[in-house]
Symmetry: C2
Subunit: 449 residues, 2 copies
């Protein structure tokens, strides 16, 4: 009879299958074994499915997050004035909040180390948007990252290869084994990256609705709760703001198009006389930025934070911070400004209202997936995206429209792709006689700072 | 936007994760893809875990069984007088039923193609027991298998490499991913092998209790139900008999020791004057054989079947069939007979009753695992077993014992192993003042012939 002195991976899988709670050492065994290759992927995928179906406690999720952070190096941001506050969104359509929030927060006095992701599926990616700026580079090492934050208050980069290798390995496996949709696994994936990247406090924008990863409010609440509880278990300050994502934020969906809209929101009349920023985009952006300012100790209330945001925009300080960042990361802010309103993919088609009424739906998911067809986003992580394609949504949900009013302009690289996108989003635009029933834009907020 | 014309494995895993029911084509995609290498093991293990936790319907289990059968070749038993009836046990301790049942059924006129397994964990294996007979070979091709069945009414072999390759692959993966304990997966594994091996009708001995694979009656019932329903979905006749497995069947636990006990049960007084076969072993064996005779159309009732079994034993026809089979498969029946009562491993230790009372427990699981230490069984499929070691249990549960009465003799290859086995089974033997509360030996029977 052999009695093994070692922890047996198969027993740990069985424990989770039966709904047991792992110890910290058990989770370290699994994560470290997977990263060092001593535990094969077929055991980890079975364990991931058991986690999907049996769940994890906040303590387990905290242990998983910690083990994932410790699987690689962490970003050295020493020397920057703390506390370092970052924002993370679970992903949406037309979600250019980071592009506006980072310079606004910087202009308010925060130092913002922002690490972003790429478009995947129907959701856009901040890195893809930024890279539509000619010359702009998001690839840099820690010293340059620190230097740029020091210079203009924020810097934008992607996830380094050395950071949280466990997350890259686990995510690739989850993606092909139908184990992506698990609240504790999502929580650990998000939190491990953010904390390894040097953030000390985190503000989460948990999207809810058709264009979000979590489509139901229950699921979004479960993720928000898990983020809060896991933050507590790790002793880190976390804020969650659940925001509605049933129509794209703002008017623009596309890579360069969203940069342009962000610049207009930051510069306003200075760039285009009479310009009015979209209310939904600005409400979400200022609320999230205000939470960052509260978390960072710059202001003492959300109301004060929101009013500071409006001030730095009105004064031009936020836009100035944006221009300095563009220059620091390799772009040319003057050239970029000159493109505003004119830089568009070669083919375009206008979609008009087939009847009069109230616009009750501009479905974010349908627009996001149609965007993949146009080249805004991608189905596979190694697909390329196109910079200048996308959608300009003329009207927001709730608008009264007349028959023939322009609802949306589609910009595509080819006539065929443009035509297909027009067809695809025909079902996304809904006109009724009565106004829509919707959640509020800011659904719920929880703070555990 | 890419829309795949193919079935996507990750979508099928997600469907099962969410409790969906697979179509036959979906199950074929998974099984065929795994066998041909186009689906990697990490996807199949995630799917297996989803099956463990979400279950499968009888129709799905039937489709899985069928797809597994079709993954390889099937045994050609044409030319044998049908119908071909086989018996399968879920495994127990001291379970030498096959060794007695096969010659009894043959002597009653059935042709029995018996394919057995090896010891694993605490349970014994018929092939290991048979191979303790010097010269006896269980390795043969279909023509020889058919010839021996024609000659002596039954033949004993192991699973061919060509039969159900999907089961070998899946079982190896389940073993290391904690996905063994799933009723539909167990059902498909058992049934696919038995039907691919040429059986037309199946009698299952579903063990329940500490020495069984399914320790609770609920679990055993769930497996019996699944076997019946899956048989129906495949249009095949199936009988399930749930039998108690809390103490070893009969008196002997060991490879050669169980062959000896089987010979004594078949030959009785002819081999050892005054010998009385153990009641529990004979009750289970005659009931299962009677079901085979009913399934095979030889008798019309269980009572008639049981009385036919007793007749062929009393007449010596069953023992004669056993001797012919031993000779046909390479053994020497005279030499084997001469070993009865004398062939034992070199070291022995007697365990006596520490007090007077009623023997209320001879725990099968403890004895089975102690047997692994002695060399009766194995922890890993590539470990060797020893022929002559084991346990001779002098008293059965329910016996009244005096202090100092012999309860068990342990036979080992070395003093150390023998001593360790004595220590290990000390806790298996329980003496109380009152008699034990137990299930009946034959707990439940279901027929879907």
């Amino acid at each position: 009879m052999v009695s093994s002195p070692h922890m047996r991976t198969v027993d740990l899988i069985g424990k989770k299958r039966d709904g047991g709670e792992h110890t910290r050492r058990e989770i370290e065994h699994l994560v470290n074994g997977y990263v060092d290759g001593s535990i094969p992927d077929y055991q980890i995928s079975a364990w991931l499915m058991a986690v999907c179906l049996s769940g994890m406690s906040a303590a387990e999720t905290g242990s998983l997050t910690r083990a994932m952070i410790e699987s690689g190096s962490t970003m050295d941001l020493s020397g920057l004035a703390g506390p370092l506050v970052d924002k993370h969104s679970t992903g949406g359509v037309g979600d250019k909040v980071s592009l506006i929030l980072a310079p606004v927060a910087a202009a308010c006095g925060l130092q913002v180390p922002m690490m972003s992701g790429r478009a995947l599926g129907h959701t856009g990616g901040t890195l893809d948007k930024l890279e539509s700026i000619h010359g702009y580079s998001t690839k840099m090492e820690a010293p340059e990252f620190r230097r740029i934050i020091g210079e203009c208050g924020y810097a934008m980069t992607g996830q380094s290869e050395d950071i949280v290798p466990a997350d890259r390995l686990l995510y690739a496996l989850r993606d092909v084994t139908a184990t992506v949709e698990s609240v504790p696994l999502i929580t650990a994936s998000i939190m491990s990256k953010k904390f390894a990247e040097g953030a000390e406090l985190l503000v989460f924008d948990v999207k809810t609705g058709s264009g979000a990863f979590m489509k139901s409010l229950d699921d979004s609440r479960a993720l928000a709760d898990s983020l809060i509880e896991t933050g507590r278990s790790l002793g880190r300050g976390v804020v969650t703001v659940i925001t509605r994502m049933d129509e794209p934020l703002g008017h623009m969906v596309g890579n360069y198009l969203e940069v342009e809209e962000s610049m207009l929101c930051l510069a306003g009349e200075a760039l285009r006389p009479g310009y009015e920023p979209p209310a939904d985009l600005m409400e979400v952006t200022t609320r999230l930025t205000a939470w960052m300012l509260v978390a960072g100790g710059i202001v003492s209330s959300i109301a004060e934070g929101e009013s500071r945001c409006r001030e730095v925009i009105a004064e031009g300080a936020a836009y100035e911070s944006f221009r300095r960042n563009v220059a620091a990361q390799g772009g040319d802010p003057d050239r970029l400004e000159a493109q505003v309103g004119g830089r568009r993919a070669p083919c375009s088609r206008v979609i008009t209202a087939p009847r009069a009424g109230i616009l009750t739906g501009v479905d974010a998911y349908t627009i996001g997936t149609a965007g993949v067809g146009l080249g805004v986003g991608r189905d596979r992580t190694d697909d390329d995206v196109l910079a200048d394609v996308g959608f300009e949504l003329a009207r927001k949900v709730g608008s009264t429209v007349e028959r023939g009013d322009t609802l949306c302009t589609v910009y595509g690289e080819t006539d065929k792709a443009t035509e297909e996108a027009v067809e695809a989003i025909a079902t996304a635009l809904r006109i009724d006689d009565d106004g829509p029933q919707r959640l509020p834009l800011i659904v719920e907020e929880r703070s555990a700072l």
